[in-house]
Structure formats: C-alpha cells, structure tokens
C-alpha cells in the first residue's frame, strides 16, 4: 500500500430475522450514525462513500445506494457500489481502504447491509433459470457435497461440525448485536434435522437483516481521532473461475492465494501464533475446520483436530469468530464487512464481552460465490 490506512470507527445494527422497526434507510443509518459517532466525525468530514451489498433482488430495489445517497451523506461526494456475492462486505471495506491508500481521500465511510426479510430470499438467491440445470436445494445443497469430500479426505468424525455450531452460539451470547444468541449443546445440534447430509439444521446460517459501517482514514486523520485505531496491515480480494478442472472447493486456490498475499503484506509467517483472533466466513459449520487449513492455521487435514481440541474457542489459543460469526448473524451483504469490522474491534480493544484479551493482530475473512471470491484483511493495534 502506498500509505497506511486505519479503521477509526465501527458501527453495526442489531441483526435479526426482521427489522420491522426501520425501513432500508433507517437500517443503514443505524450503522452509519454509530460509526460516525464512534469515529467522532460528522458527514462533512467524509470524503467518499463506498457501499456494498449482495443481490438487489433481496430487497426488490435496483442499486439501492442511489436512493440512499442522502441517508449516507453522499450528496456531491464520490459514491461507489461493490457487489461480489457473499464476500461483498469484505471487498467493499477493502475498496474503501484502497481509496484512502491512493492518497486522494482522507476519510472514507464504508457501509454494507442487507434487509433481506423484505423480499423472498430463497427466490432472490436461486431463482429457477431456464437453460440452466436446476440448483440442488439451495446453497446448503451446493456446499454439502464438498463438506462430505472434506470428511472423506480427513476421516473427521461427525460431531466436529456440531461442535463448531455450538461454540458459535456460545460466542454469540457475548455479542449484543448477534441475531441468534440462544445457547445450544453439541447434542442439540446432532439431534436437529439433517437437511443436506452432512449438514444439519442447527449448523446453518440464519437469514438476517443487518448493517455495518466503518470509517477508514489516513494516518494523519487517524491520529486526530478519539479512538485507538485498527491499522490495516494487509488486504486483498481474489476470484477464480467456476469450471476449472481440478478446482478444489474443499481447499480453494483463490483462498490460499489471497491468504498468501495478505500474510506477506502483513508480515505474517506463522498465522497460528501471530494472529490473536480470527473472524472468518463460516455459513455452514464445517467450513470453520476447512478454512483453518485453507488459511494456513494448521496443516492440511488437521483443521478438524484443532476444533476437537477446542483450540479455536473463546479463551483458547486462537479464538475464531468470537462474535458468533455468520452462523449466528447473516445479513448477506453485510456479513463480509462484519467479519472485517469485528476483527478491527478486537485490536481496537472494543469488542466488549467478546473481546479476546490482549488481541493485537486479527484476521477478517469472507468468501462468496461457488467458493470463488475470497477477501480478507489483517489488522493490527500498532502501525
């Protein structure tokens, strides 16, 4: 990066199945107002607005950032809208970082949201398209075979996914904004209906309404702010084509390439020991084990053992998803930025009840598409 960039404010909404108390602008403003307040800034201090969200069919509005220009304080400012499927929240934050890194903008407001209760989410995500083979039973049906392949490759026992799910809920109990907070045991999960074998009902992400906003700023601007900022040490977003023979959806190449790039920028050579907390995109439980490997936290085939030993739980060696993660809140367009924002909150020392003690370096990660888009950043407490 040409010059250092910091996160100087974070604000998010309470995520829930349906935020009937606010309209779309209201949902976005809840996050924006909190982020600006957090950063000690007003709209006039913001030089550009970078917005991201997932398919617009989810709300029945095309390019909603256009009608939201006023609500986000974007009048006569540069406004950009990113859309990279499930990873969009993360690529959006990274685009905002790029704006500041370019030297052309001092403070950029970045927002990611989804108010998917307002449309028909299942239809919006996978309408029956002519001339295309029918998708097997939604996203879970798409990913389940690769989870099965992971289990076959590693010999992992069936309770690993349920352990991850139960742990996520325990984490969400410490996050005032999380959608699903009710605790559940590994047994509760194992007793829940099997949807797409091997994925059970209680191992899948919810459908949520929610938003998150952050202010990213230059070093000079960050040093003027009231908060201890989170410094962006590295960030990148990668994609890979769908129909490449040999594409590995269990341990995706694009994920590995992205992690390699970001770790190099951030000077991470030993992720397991150098990263204190990780917010990674886990929409179905088993991905936590798979991404532990894909992100280089452990050897290939060992991710499930990390989980079995509980080393990724809150309070253990490398807490993963201390916020509860995507398994507990999934406003699709926002989820990627929630991961990156939560990572920032950790190193800012502002994660409240789910603060990982002494966290100095944190990873935020997201993915989307048929395991094609990967975006992540590493943030640090020191410049």
């Amino acid at each position: 990066m040409k010059r250092p960039v910091a996160v100087v404010g974070v604000g998010q909404t309470k995520h829930s199945a349906r935020r009937a108390d606010v309209n779309i602008a209201g949902l976005v403003r809840e996050a924006v107002d909190r982020a600006l307040l957090d950063a000690g800034l007003e709209h006039k201090d913001i030089d550009a607005v970078v917005i991201g969200k997932a398919p617009d069919m989810l709300e029945g509005v095309m390019q909603p950032e256009q009608f939201l220009v006023g609500a986000v304080g974007g009048h006569l400012k540069p406004v950009v809208r990113i859309h990279t499927a499930g990873s969009v929240g993360a690529t959006t934050a990274l685009a905002a970082v790029t704006h500041v890194a370019s030297g052309l903008f001092e403070r950029v407001l970045t927002i990611a949201f989804e108010k998917q209760s307002e449309g028909n989410a299942m239809w919006a995500l996978s309408p029956t398209m002519p001339f295309m083979p029918p998708l097997v039973a939604g996203a879970g049906g798409y990913f389940a075979p690769y989870i099965r392949a992971y289990i076959a490759r590693t010999g992992a026992p069936p309770h690993i996914g349920p352990m991850i799910a139960a742990n996520a809920r325990a984490n969400a109990g410490r996050n005032q904004y999380a959608h699903l907070q009710e605790p559940m045991t590994v047994d509760d999960v194992m007793q829940s209906p099997m949807l797409w074998d091997p994925i059970r009902y209680l191992e899948t992400c919810p459908s949520s309404d929610g938003a998150i906003a952050m202010v990213v700023a230059s070093e000079a601007a960050a040093k003027k702010g009231p908060r201890k900022p989170a410094w962006v040490k590295g960030g990148a977003s990668y994609a890979e084509a769908m129909w490449v023979p040999g594409r590995d959806q269990v341990n995706p190449h694009a994920g590995r390439a992205c992690a390699k790039h970001v770790y190099a920028q951030a000077g991470i050579t030993d992720p397991w020991n150098q990263i204190d907390a990780a917010e990674i995109y886990v929409p179905f439980s088993w991905f936590e084990a798979m991404w532990l490997e894909n992100l280089g936290f452990c050897e290939i085939g060992q991710g499930w053992k990390v989980v079995e030993r509980g080393e990724q739980k809150f309070g253990a060696h490398l807490p993963m998803n201390p916020s509860g993660g995507v398994l507990c809140s999934n406003p699709i367009g926002a989820s990627g930025m929630l991961r990156l924002g939560e990572a920032a909150l950790q190193v800012m020392g502002r994660a409240g009840a789910h603060q990982v003690e002494g966290a100095k370096t944190a990873l935020g990660h997201a993915y989307g598409g048929g395991a094609q888009y990967f975006a992540m950043w590493v943030v640090g407490a020191e410049l």
Binding site: M1, K2, N23, I24, A54, P55, D56, M57, E59, G60, V61, M62, Q63, Q66, F67, V69, G70, G74, H75, L76, K77, P78, V79, V80, R81, I82, H83, T84, A85, T91, A95, T98, H99, A101, S102, G103, L104, L125, S126, P127, M129, A236, S237, Y238, A239, E240, A241, M242, W243, V244, H253, A254, A257, C258, H261, G369, G370, Q372, Y373, F374
Partner: protein, 374 residues
C-alpha cells in the same frame, strides 16, 4: 496536489451494439472482446494484474450475473478481482484508484449484460426510492421527460433544438462501425417521430441494444509497451446527488459541474474548451445540453470540442457499459483508432459517464496524448 501516477488507456474492444443477439449469452459476447483487447496490447492474460467489471443483476435477470464473466475473463490462476454494480466506467475509475494506491500496474475492465432480455423501462423503475417514487410507476423515460420539460421551460429550448442535436449525433454515428443505429436522419425527420414521453420524441432517445466491452488500463512503464499512443488519464472525479426528483434542480447537473471542475483541475486545465473531443453519456439531447452547461460550454449550437463524434448513446446505449464505451471512444480518438469517425488532430478529450435517473451520478475523465505528470 502532489504528483499522481500516470495511467493510460492502452486497449479497447467492443462488440458492435445490436438490438438483440439471438445466438450468444452475455459471457459468450464478452469472451471475444477480452481476447481482442489483449491482442491489441500484444499481451497474454497473465500480463494483466487486476480485473474488474461493471454490470447489474437486474439487467442480467439473475442474481450474481457477474459470476458468469469470471470464466471468460481468464480468471485462472486466481486473480485479484472486484465487481461494481455500476456502469463499467466506474469500474475503470476504481481500477485507476487502485493504480494510484500502488496496488496494480495493469487492469482489465469489462462491461457486459444483455439488455434485450428484460424491459429497461420496468427494471429501472426499481432504482427509485421504493416508498415514494417507485410506486408512482416512473421509469427512466418518464423521469427524463420530467427533467427535459423543466429544462425547456427554464431555457426556452424548443423541440427543434432537440431535433438538431439528435440529427448531428445520428450523422456522426454513420462513421462508427460499432454503433447500433448507423443511418443519418435529418432534424425534420426526427421531429416527425412520435413522442416517446413528451417532450422527448422517439427520435431523440436511444434504442434498446446490447454489447460487451473490454478496456485495458496500464500505468507508466507498462503502458508504453502495450500501445503506440497510450491515452493518459490526466484527471478524474465522480460525484453523486440526491435521487429525489424534487430535492435537486433537475435542469442543472451539480454533480457533473463539480466532477468536471475537479477533473479539469487535476489535469491542469482551465476549462472544458481546452479539449478537442467530449464523449458524454447524455442519453437524450436535453441531457446533453445539461451536461454541456455543467461543463461550462454553450448548451446549443457549435462547441469547440467535438461532442460525441461516435454518435454517443443515441447511436447505441447498452446500459451498464455505455460509460465505458465513452472512455473507449475517447481512447480511439486520441490514439488514432477512430476509423470512420475520427476528429482530426485530437489531443485531449473528456469522457463522461452517468448513471441513475436524471443524471444522478456523474463521472468525468480528462485524457490526453501527453503524460500529465513528470
């Protein structure tokens, strides 16, 4: 302002704009233009270190429509990538910002999406505020007509004035092999066309058509190896305005004015009169007049810069990439590749893109045959 990085447009290819491509899906239309653009630059796909795209799910008529483009853009091995739900010109703007941040040295920018598969008048109604505006049933034609009506009332512009501008654009398009409409039409003929939505006649508004576009950007050091005459970006800026039709003066484009001022200042130019060509995404003659005024040029009559020598959107408006085509056309003019519609001795150009109802958001590039910064 401190020195910025010199970045140039080095390649541009587009599928000729057609009313309806019955044989290819959007990604199939895109593949050949990506190959053409790379071939123009004499490089393989691996030589490009960033890729970005502009398209819209609602135009594609499916969620995640842009994912289909990955397979035809050479996204293997995994590439650094992004996608904007905006006119592809904004994707080029974003790629330029990445270059300024030192995050890449070359970029492939694409625009695609089959407009003929849906009904834009219905679809673009959905861009409007879902509580107050969309339920009124307004579409892009009706909002444009409201703007036109207001503009004509303020300025005394006549139907004839609109017809004359449209006739000039139609004449220019005859020399543009990629235009959809390539027949000239006189102002008289155009004035006899029925109303699309009064005061805009069918002869003054673009036809529905589709295309696929690829443009390549490169930073100084790389650009010179990829193009005999790179077209250097000297200034760029974009601004959005409130959408609400009653919240702004529809007869003046404050965002175009501001973006133009900022882009010209960055480019070290005092006025838009200093460029030789302006390619503008003005989708009807009134929009063109509003844009011209915003740029400090006379709204009617001749201007020193040639306006839309390609014919502009009136000759073809494939929606999510029309802005990128304006940038590509400016490149063609300045690099000597505008066969059939070349403006002689063109040294500087402005490429303007817009999106949203009534010119809600505007992007201005200032380009030149010479590097801006040394």
């Amino acid at each position: 302002m401190s020195t910025l990085r010199n970045v140039a447009v080095v390649g541009f290819a587009q599928a000729p704009i057609v009313a309806h491509d019955a044989h290819r899906v959007a990604s199939e239309m895109l593949y050949p233009v990506v190959r053409q653009a790379l071939a123009q630059c004499g490089v393989e796909r691996d030589a490009i270190d960033y890729q970005t795209a502009g398209s819209a799910d609602y135009i594609d008529g499916r969620p995640f429509g842009f994912v289909g483009a990955l397979d035809v853009m050479g996204t293997w091995p995994p590439r650094q990538d992004s996608h904007l739900e905006m006119d592809a010109a904004f994707a080029a703007y974003y790629a330029w910002i990445r270059m300024q941040a030192g995050e890449c040295d070359t970029a492939l920018v694409v625009g695609y999406g089959k407009v003929s598969e849906g009904e834009p008048e219905r679809i673009l109604n959905l861009q409007l505020d879902p509580y107050y505006l969309a339920p009124l049933g307004l579409g892009p034609m009706t909002t444009a007509a409201l703007q036109a009506s207001a503009y004509m009332a303020r300025t005394g512009t006549s139907d004839r004035d609109l017809a004359e501008i449209a006739a000039r654009r139609r004449a220019a398009a005859v020399g543009n092999a990629d235009a959809q409409v390539r027949t000239a039409a006189s102002a008289d003929e155009l004035q006899r066309t029925p109303w699309a939505v009064e005061p805009l006649r069918q002869g003054y508004v673009p036809p529905i058509g589709e295309s696929a576009v690829c443009l390549i950007l490169a930073a100084e050091g790389k650009a010179e190896t990829m193009c005999k005459q790179p077209v250097w970006i000297g200034g760029v800026d974009q601004r959005a305005e409130l959408q609400s039709l009653g919240a702004r003066d529809l007869t003046r484009s404050a965002s175009t004015k501001l973006a133009t001022e900022k882009a010209l200042a960055m480019a070290g130019l005092a006025s838009a009169n200093e460029v030789d060509v302006i390619e503008t995404l003005a989708a009807n003659p009134v929009e063109e007049m509003i844009v011209r005024e915003a740029m400090g040029l006379p709204a009617r009559g001749e201007t020193r810069p040639a306006i839309n020598p390609s014919g502009g959107p009136l000759a073809g408006h494939p929606l999510m990439m029309t802005g990128l085509i304006r940038l590509g056309e400016a490149f063609r003019q300045l690099s000597g590749a505008a066969d059939g519609h070349a403006v002689p001795n063109a040294r500087r150009a402005i490429a303007h893109s817009a999106q949203g109802h009534c010119l809600q958001q505007n992007l201005v590039f200032v380009l030149g045959r010479e590097r801006r910064w040394s």
